[in-house]
Symmetry: C2
Subunit: 253 residues, 2 copies
Amino acid sequence: MNPISIFPLTGIPLIQPGDDLPRILGDAVERLDSRLQSGDVLVIAQKIVSKAEGRYIDLDRITPSPYAIEIAQQCQKDPRLIEVILSESTEVVRVRSGLIITRHRLGFVSANAGVDRSNVAPDGIDRVLLLPIDPDRSAAHIRSAVRDRFGIDVGVIIADSHGRPHRMGTVGVAIGLSGLPGVEDWRGRKDLFGYTLQHTEVGVADQIAGAGTLLLGQAAEAIPAVIVRGVSFEKRDGTAQEINRPKEMDLFQ
Amino acid sequence: MNPISIFPLTGIPLIQPGDDLPRILGDAVERLDSRLQSGDVLVIAQKIVSKAEGRYIDLDRITPSPYAIEIAQQCQKDPRLIEVILSESTEVVRVRSGLIITRHRLGFVSANAGVDRSNVAPDGIDRVLLLPIDPDRSAAHIRSAVRDRFGIDVGVIIADSHGRPHRMGTVGVAIGLSGLPGVEDWRGRKDLFGYTLQHTEVGVADQIAGAGTLLLGQAAEAIPAVIVRGVSFEKRDGTAQEINRPKEMDLFQ
């Protein structure tokens, strides 16, 4: 059984709106000591994808709705920020002091709809960074560029860190992906004694995202992408959408 | 920045009740090509710890209570199995056809209280395998044995796979640990621009457990333990208990 290795893509500059991220990532791949391999998974921090896509919003240009103002009072946050969060959400799941949990338009449940007020440039403008428009498409675009440049088909994951019900601490999850499954279906697989496995759906993309996030960290923008090598997964082109548990199937609540 | 590597401990036999698991794991460490290093994390599948501890229950010896029979009707499972699940739980969170979610006596929320009917020996006895009595203590015991034998202080994680609210697919999580934090507190850490980080508590042990589980797989008992090398974490001796989100702080529901 081969080991898994996770290594950083280095030398990636601070990303600006309009930057050609596939080219920049490809340049970083060229700097690697080892050659890209089929089955490698490129795990990319959501933030640089958002930045390249120019997903900034100046809060000064936002006029909060009465509903946003009401929610902002409940969670004691900037009403303009809440307006932006609501605009990225399909449902408010929970509001309390300091916290808003929503269902994002991309289908997952997270804090602040992924709207990030930290880690954006200090030019005095009060702005926030939204998630990429369509992270699955962003991942597919990067995968395609890597294939064109290197002739290697890799998996690509756009990773973000999410808090979780029941458990403390954020973990990396896949909010966009291409070239690998989001969830693997192990139904029918048997264990050593021929018993059917108890866990039949495995969150392979989230586990890879979490593994990559161990190295990505969250403070060091200098390492916003890593390669995860050696994971065996089904050759199936999934989406991050398939990881979202349909609301009517939510079993833990 | 160093890479992370995850490699298997090989040659571990099928574990039987009473087996000296620390010795067996130590023997597997001796077979490694590379020497153990300080900061390595030994990720061990819960199942072999449970087996070594003899955590089997013969269902034929279980008499279900009226409450267990009622729950069993709701989820269409064996009332004796439900009795065992309830005995391992402090609270029933959700019951529906084919599914029971409880808060385990160890504090986390999971399906079936970790009671496993698959992957136990085919000797005709209808038995199930419970989680280890005290996985944090099991982890500490293994860590101590490794330190005594190799003079190296490693982290130890007892990993299980859990389903999740909102997201499809199981992921590896830490249900016991020693020699590393369950959750890292990043409060006060700043990003490149001096902004305070948005995510202040990071589920480092769960991310390592998930990374290890990528290699552990769930079918191959032949690889029930792996080494995760190269993760930087606080030198703090945490517990899996600290990962459990207190019920009154559960923010996503």
